[in-house]
Point group: C2
Chain length 444, copies 2
């Protein structure tokens, strides 16, 4: 399809999403919940059709020479489909955020101001690999009263289309929800570029995928972006650390699911205790298949460790690899994290409360942990319900990004005829030249 | 200066700002308050030097052929300087937001989670015309614990340099605050372009100026942007409106300060009352020097009105011009505002509470008013203290953007050794192929 046609297609889709947003926002919470449950039921009841569509994607991907890991991320089975359905049911059960009066107050002149929670409007999700996002992210957006525009990976186009069709079926009893979930049904790369320029119609873009996708979105988008780029997470074993606790936390962080963003990538150990801590810790990690890389001091203590290169300190391995560094103390640990952390999740293990508080105050990351695993950095674990992702940004949402983070607010001001009594600069008479070259008017 | 040199200058400035951010964030609230007061005192005490610098800018601008309005926005006098100082004193008196525990809760596994307010880090403000921003915006950023990077208009470079010098003088007793306010001291346009790419070091960009500056920033920035683009504000005079109140609100909105973003630009009148309302209202506006443009129905009722063209409905006049339209009723008014409003400030005047609530719920703008003037859409008027601007974005900040909106939050999690008990997909065993091509490991 020609570039211009794709651009037109995307712009039309975005414009129609914007036009649908007010009526979707006005749908009562109960109906949105029912629609979510209807979609979950359809998921559970359409296993055959979904697997068929998915098989088509798998066949094409296989033919294109994709590897096992790629195919595994793409593949559905009965359990994954019912997992999707259950995930959507969980979202349906979440409290509805729309209409919440966040704050209310009355001003001296009598106007009453309310800060009210409202949907963002139109949220675009651009993702790779996992067609589940077409169910999960759309469900979260809908719970928050938004229209969602989904652009998945081209490798899952059949799977995504099948899910999009189920959404429309689920919306059938709720005409106002028709079109609340829209799939960008073009596999061309240009479709993404075109979508990223629709800032007149789209309120937020959430990219989910590898570094190059995230980078592209950040560079090209004129729509606000909330992202998580990297998870270079550190565990700092302070001299006051309990060894058993430290080992539990490090092993849980590195080994449980190495490929996720909250997996531990680096361990910093106080020089005072390194000789005591590193040998047993590294032996344990090695026995679990972890490749260790260390700075000079760490390698001296654990000779089987590979020497780390400068790039190791910024690397996100997403694999059973861990870099280890010996540090002089708390200040050095904090400095290292400031220089190399990605603002995701950082841990201190210690029984020294003062050291812990200093660390927690000084380290600037989405989540800072004292004596707990980075693997707890998760919307579900935090009790926030499902999340659309973990943001390492500081704007609008930081950390787990759930339903609430897919909303914004507006001010509703109720008065009895109040007007502005004077100009913004309290003692400054109105100067017509500052604002207008038209006829001067009397000050009012 | 060569382009590469400018880019290097800007990148170094941004990197050093990022490096300064943690120590600025750690400065106690009381000291930041004292520094703000010290700056205010220096402002008040350096009138002569400031006027001299400003005179240099005025001379250059005059020579370059700039008009009266431009010179007026640029010019300082005793009163404007003391106004700046008082504004900074007001900011110094605002409650400090840093460290606030926004929310706290304990999870079933015993971890205690706190959502704590922290500075954004590094905030860049890019502005035109008013050198006051170098004082006001920097003050707000500092009250919120941030480092600010200021890039003013090239026409005010001397004035801005003078203010930047005063900031450093004010910081002298507080070494940790050195460099908390940085001026991009290059007038070349490329400096802005280079600054907009510093997303590794800058957390937020706030552009303040005309449409083309805002557009450029949105297009080029890889840093999150919060902006207000246009203020196309409507007053909808419902059939239940009290005429005297309607007239007060319309006149206040259009005439008091036509050049600001919360000025009224359009009036929509219910057909049922147009014949009664429009003639006296338009006569009043005309007597105050307002040029009126109307749709066919309005022009039929008020023949002296000029016919409006299609562009009028989207135009932000920032002058004594007002467009008037007769609408069939509430639904049509809402539809018109949805199509032409800029998400800034929208008013309904009526004594019909049900109509008012429908309007307030349906209209999506930063602030929606019932029986109150759009001119009240202001941080000071809302009781939020000073503002860095009014955001029409929906991300992070909407409406008046004050000190709180220049912060973000982080999660602090305190545990007793808790780890993640199972993978994110509750019933899904660990699949090594999904994440790693390295040695398979036993599920843990």
């Amino acid at each position: 399809m020609a570039t211009n046609d794709i651009r037109e297609y995307v712009e039309t889709l975005a414009r129609e999403a914007r036009e649908a947003a007010p009526r979707v926002a006005a749908v009562p919470a109960a109906d949105r919940g029912k629609a979510l449950l209807a979609f979950a039921d359809r998921l559970a009841g359409s296993t055959k059709a979904l697997l068929k569509a998915n098989a088509g994607d798998l066949k094409a991907a296989s033919k294109a020479g994709e590897n096992e890991a790629f195919l595994d991320r793409l593949a559905w089975d009965d359990r994954r489909i019912s997992g999707m359905a259950n995930g959507v049911r969980e979202v349906a059960a979440l409290p509805d955020p729309i209409g919440e009066v966040i704050e209310a107050w009355t001003r001296p002149n009598g106007i009453r101001i309310e800060k009210v929670r409202v949907p963002l409007g139109v949220v675009a999700v651009i993702y790779e690999s996992r067609p589940n996002v077409t169910a999960e992210a759309a469900a979260l957006c809908l719970r928050a009263g938004n229209v969602s525009i989904l652009r998945g990976g081209s490798e899952s186009i059949r799977s995504n289309r099948a899910l999009a069709a189920l959404w429309e079926e689920a919306f059938a009893p709720f005409p106002s929800l028709s079109g609340a979930v829209r799939l960008v049904d073009k596999t061309s790369r240009e479709a993404v570029g075109a979508l990223l320029k629709q800032d007149r119609f789209v309120d937020l873009v959430v990219p989910r995928g590898g570094e190059s996708l995230i980078r592209r979105v950040v560079e090209e988008s004129t729509i606000p972006v909330i992202k998580h780029a990297k998870g270079v997470c550190h565990a700092y074993l302070h001299k006051g650390a309990d060894y058993a606790m430290a080992e539990r936390i490090v092993v849980n962080g590195k080994v449980q699911r190495p490929g996720v963003c909250n997996a531990l990538e680096k361990v910093l150990v106080d020089a005072d205790v390194a000789a005591k801590v590193l040998p047993p810790l590294c032996a344990k990690l090695k026995s679990l298949g972890v490749e260790l890389r260390g700075d000079e001091a760490a390698c001296a203590l654990v000779p089987s460790m590979k020497p780390a290169s400068p790039e190791d300190w910024d690397a996100e391995y997403l694999a059973l690899v861990l870099a280890v560094k010996v540090v002089p103390g708390l200040e050095a640990a904090v400095e290292h994290i400031r220089a190399h952390g990605s603002g995701h999740s950082e841990v201190i293990v210690t029984s020294d409360a003062a050291a812990a508080e200093t660390f927690c105050r000084a380290v600037d990351a989405a989540a800072v942990f004292w004596n707990a695993s980075t693997r707890l950095h998760d919307g579900g674990q935090f009790g926030m319900g499902a999340e659309i992702g973990i943001s390492t940004d500081k704007i609008h949402a930081r950390g787990p990004m759930g339903v609430k983070e897919l909303t914004t607010y507006k001010f509703i001001v109720r008065g009895t005829g109040q007007i502005r009594e004077e100009g913004r600069f309290m003692n400054r008479p109105y100067n017509p030249f500052a604002f207008s070259t038209r006829a001067a008017v009397s000050w009012r």
